[in-house]
């Protein structure tokens, strides 16, 4: 049991290091895209350690406690994440719905802490984050339920093994429309640019993070990196056939995150009502179409 918990914490830490380095490399890639030199690849680490080394103020204990709850909740979620089809901390506890439930703890902690700061921008940011979540969850869940229906199992490892079995394709290929919806929803989860409404530095002064400085902001950055790790890994496992070894996982992870980031860097930002309208229009129609095609007609490649 203790060993399992240690492995789980190791996975969360691995996720943090992996996502932080890949985010740093991506800053460099975006820099090259804009004909700049770009920062060093470990700039994200420097930023986080700098924030942790600064002094900070507090706005009351809800403000502090919420940050710790957010970080703890996200680390607890990441502990259940399988890395490959035979490496995970807690055997049989890699059900898709565990992630859906547990990730909410971290998000709620952040929402609580942001409202505890009493800044109106923070409340607006939290409201927008929850609205965006409502928007992307519906099409995403329809696609995931289709996958669960096809595989007859909701455990991530089983879904991975189903895709790796001979004769079956990755779900990105087997359910092309659904894969596209999944990717759009992933962009919404990561807060990449057309759906960046709740951070929006120039509009609502970085939303929920408006009152954070120093150590609390550093902890939120760590939380942000780990939650990006969870979301991208979910996509890799659900749609890209998971991984049989760690290198395959790293390559798939890097490709997915970089693609999302490249799309983000050439886009503007939607307004919040446009985000909701967008998700409830095209991705929802596509997801329902995919579900009907896959389940009732049985047309799966």
């Amino acid at each position: 049991m203790i060993l399992n918990i240690l492995i789980g914490i190791g996975i969360a830490f691995f996720g943090f290091v992996l996502q932080t380095s890949i985010a740093g490399i991506n800053r460099k890639i975006v820099g090259r895209l804009q004909k700049r030199h770009g920062p060093r690849w470990y700039q994200e680490f420097i930023d986080i350690f700098k924030l942790l080394s600064k002094r900070s103020i507090t706005h009351g204990w809800i403000f502090d406690f919420g940050v710790i709850m957010a970080l703890g909740g996200i680390i607890a979620t990441a502990m259940f994440m399988p890395l490959t089809n035979n490496f995970l901390a807690f055997e049989n506890f890699d059900n898709f719905f565990i992630f859906v439930y547990l990730i909410a703890v971290g998000m709620l902690g952040m929402a609580m802490s942001a409202s505890g700061s009493g800044n109106p921008w923070a409340s607006i940011g939290v409201m927008r984050a929850l609205t965006t979540m409502l928007a992307y969850e519906v099409p995403f869940l329809i696609v995931v339920l289709t996958i669960i229906n096809l595989t007859g199992n909701s455990s991530l490892t089983e879904i991975m093994l189903y895709q790796q079995a001979s004769g079956n394709n990755w779900f990105l290929i087997a359910l092309p429309i659904g894969g596209l919806v999944g990717f759009i929803a992933l962009m919404g989860m990561l807060g990449k640019k057309p759906f960046e409404t709740y951070v929006a530095p120039a509009e609502i002064a970085s939303g929920p993070m408006v009152e954070y400085g120093g150590k609390q902001l550093g902890m939120l950055f760590i939380m942000n990196e780990i939650s990006a790790f969870i979301e991208v890994s979910l996509f890799v496992h659900l749609f890209l056939g998971g991984a049989t070894n760690i290198f395959e996982f790293l390559i798939k992870y890097f490709v997915v995150y970089t693609l999302a980031n490249l799309i983000s860097s050439v886009n503007g930002r939607f307004k919040i009502d446009q985000v909701v309208k967008f998700f409830y229009k095209w991705p929802l129609i596509m997801a329902v179409t995919q579900a009907v095609i896959a389940i009732y007609f049985g047309w799966v490649i």
Binding site: R36, K50, K54, I57, P201, A205, S206, E211, Y212
Partner: protein, 192 residues
């Protein structure tokens, strides 16, 4: 020749250990300076070229930030009218320590071409302490980046101590602020 005599290991005192940690922190702080741009005057037009592809300040690890709480540097670009000075003091006091101030252009140094105006202040460092000045009207992006590198150097040499100065000489600064503004507290719908 090394002495073979036993010498007792010197134990580091608490101050020395603190200083060592502070130096480690300084490495991170000088390589990741986040700016809060307080664009009050015309010098601000030189900031976009120094941020974007032409001069690319991000390669030094710097970048614009949205709020005073997150920022390390308060970048005062240009003249300050009395009304903006009040907001500037509010902003400066909200930033989390260690914090640094850069004054762009000749206006914050001695008033520049607005030295005889009744509406602006002439010397910024009477009201808040300044670490680095970048002279010029307006300074070009090369000199702005040079100013940033100077600030990094002085953080490395532990001479960027303006935030300590503000704490130690707080009364003097407060008195100057009061003399110029009459009252520092802002009365409008956002601050009451």
């Amino acid at each position: 020749m090394l002495s073979t005599k036993y010498t007792e290991k010197t134990k580091l005192t608490k101050d020395e250990i603190d200083r060592k940690w502070w130096e480690v922190g300084d490495y991170f702080r000088r390589n990741s300076l986040w700016l809060l741009m307080y664009c009050t005057g015309c010098c601000a037009v030189e900031l976009p070229p120094s941020m974007t592809s032409a001069y690319d300040m991000e390669r030094l690890g710097m970048g614009p930030m949205a709020t005073p709480r997150q920022a390390d540097i308060l970048l005062v670009s240009g003249y300050l009218s009395l009304k903006t000075l009040r907001r500037l003091i509010y902003t400066y006091e909200q930033m989390s320590e260690p914090k640094y101030v850069i004054g762009l252009g000749s206006c914050p140094i001695n008033g520049g071409i607005y030295h005889d105006s009744h509406a602006v202040i002439n010397q910024l460092d009477q009201y808040i302490p300044v670490d680095v000045y970048v002279a010029g009207c307006m300074p070009n992006p090369e000199s702005i980046l040079n100013g940033f590198v100077d600030l990094m150097e002085s953080i490395k040499n532990k001479t960027a101590n303006s935030w300590k100065k503000y704490r130690d000489n707080n009364e003097w600064y407060k008195q100057n602020q009061k003399d110029a503004l009459g009252e520092v507290i802002i009365h409008d719908e956002f601050h009451e």
